[in-house]
């Protein structure tokens, strides 16, 4: 039990940053509940990225604690009661900085993967 829990937490650590970015990015289109966020990430990534619930919910609660998202109980389109998360102004700022950081990482990794292109630059 203990070991399993640690494994979950490790996974969060690995995904942290990236998962935050994905969640914040998803929420910029409007409020969404946990399941909706999960489905959205899966759909937009062409079924490649699947967020574990054991990572998703802790991340959502942490983001709420950090003040980047707020939550509210609302009815879904199919008339289900669900907890909807919404981006706060602070969350929007955070999203921008995470996007910038992501672009940096992508650039850096691309530079490593494709040295020719890097050398070709002035």
């Amino acid at each position: 039990m203990k070991l399993k829990k640690e494994r979950y937490q490790n996974r969060i650590e690995l995904l942290q940053g990236t998962l935050d970015l994905l969640i914040l990015q998803t929420l910029q289109w409007g409020p969404q509940h946990g399941y909706g966020i999960n489905q959205s990430i899966r759909g937009r990534s062409g079924e490649v990225l699947q967020v574990e619930t054991g990572s998703l919910y802790p991340a959502l609660h942490r983001l709420e604690r950090q003040g980047w998202v707020t939550s509210q109980w609302k009815q879904t389109e199919s008339n289900q009661r669900a907890k909807f998360y919404r981006l706060t102004p602070a969350g929007k700022k955070q999203l921008l900085s995470e996007q910038a950081r992501w672009a940096q990482i992508v650039d850096a990794i691309a530079g490593i993967m494709n040295p020719a292109r890097q050398e070709g630059r002035p």
Partner: protein, 342 residues
């Protein structure tokens, strides 16, 4: 937020998390059913997909723990701010705490020194009261206090004693320092504090030569008396005060922990008053004392290490018998040895 509110709040969050997870299950199952799965198939698939529900909840709840701590820090910051804003309240609260703690400490110190450590003397188990026995008088007085000439013989001849001292209750009148006052204390052989193993808080104890008549115009003051009457003035040491119309030099102050046995604690016929404000040396001429009279003194002996009370008594009884024989009196003389701490 009070502790109770916080518990309620946490309880509410637990319920919300349950509901959030259930909502996820329902939505996922519904979507699967819309895609053609049976209710049962959907339920199984969603459960497999979701993973360990208890674990997910547990890891999620861990995220709140930080919150818990943060709220506490916030409370603490708020508390500090309020204390700073209300200096009077803060001062009263601090004073209350200080007095409470102080009173407890004071009471403990008192209990410790008065009750738990009745006699704060060095190696008090080695200290014995020496009493004299005149068998012819033992019907009326089983034991008697010591007398001066016999004490001098013990001091000279008894090898079981490391040292022996005598002291008797003594009153004097203090004048020239505010209102005249009769003060009670003790007149002691110069070595009393050596025998008891008490070091002065200030100044010194008595010198051997101060036991002799004319050299005895020195005094040691009890801590409480020094504080009450002389306001704890440290410069009093070395100065003279007037006792019984004579200038007497204050040579030392006894430590606050010093207690002298009161009442009949030192045996019948030697009643020390409740307060012993001072001690002065004997300053007595043994020539003025009868060999078998004036049994007025408390004698306190410190036994040599390794010597038992029984051995000391055996030796002392031999000395006593010799004294009685030399005095050529028709009475016998023996001794008794009683632990001081009994």
């Amino acid at each position: 937020m009070s502790f109770r509110d916080r518990l309620l709040h946490r309880r509410q969050r637990e319920d919300e998390l349950d509901e959030e997870v259930q909502a996820h299950f329902r939505m996922a199952a519904q979507e699967r059913m819309e895609q053609g799965e049976t209710a049962e198939q959907a339920r199984v698939s969603v459960a497999r997909e979701f993973g360990n529900v208890t674990l997910v909840k547990e890891v999620t709840r861990d995220m709140w723990a930080f919150r818990w701590l943060e709220t506490m820090l916030q409370d603490l910051r708020y508390g500090t701010r309020m204390l700073r804003k209300n200096p009077v309240f803060t001062a009263v609260a601090l004073l209350t705490l200080a007095l409470g703690i102080g009173a407890n400490t004071a009471i403990f110190s008192l209990v410790n020194s008065v009750l738990l450590r009745p006699l704060a003397y060095r190696e008090a188990q080695q200290l014995y009261l020496v009493r004299e026995i005149i068998p012819e008088l033992s019907q009326t007085y089983p034991t008697l206090p010591a007398n001066l000439p016999n004490f001098l013989v013990w001091q000279r001849d008894c090898h079981s004693f490391e040292e022996v001292a005598i002291v008797e209750p003594f009153n004097m009148t203090l004048t020239g320092y505010g209102e005249a006052e009769q003060i009670s204390g003790g007149r002691a052989s110069a070595n009393l504090f050596d025998v008891l193993g008490v070091m002065p808080e200030l100044g010194r104890t008595f010198l051997p030569e101060e036991d002799t008549p004319g050299n005895d115009h020195v005094v040691m003051l009890a801590d409480s008396f020094w504080r009450d009457r002389f306001h704890g003035d440290r410069t009093i040491v070395g100065r003279s005060i007037t006792l019984d119309g004579q200038p007497v030099q204050v040579v030392g102050i006894l430590p606050a922990s010093f207690r002298f046995p009161k009442g009949a604690q030192l045996g019948a016929l030697t009643e020390f008053p409740p307060r012993t404000d001072f001690f002065k040396p004997l300053g007595l001429d043994p020539k003025h004392f009868d060999q078998l009279g004036q049994f007025d003194f408390v004698a306190i002996a410190r036994l040599k290490p390794g010597t038992t009370a029984r051995q000391a008594l055996a030796e002392l009884d031999v000395i006593q018998a010799r004294i009685a024989k030399d005095a050529n009196e028709s009475v016998g003389l023996r001794a008794a040895i009683i632990p001081l701490e009994s």
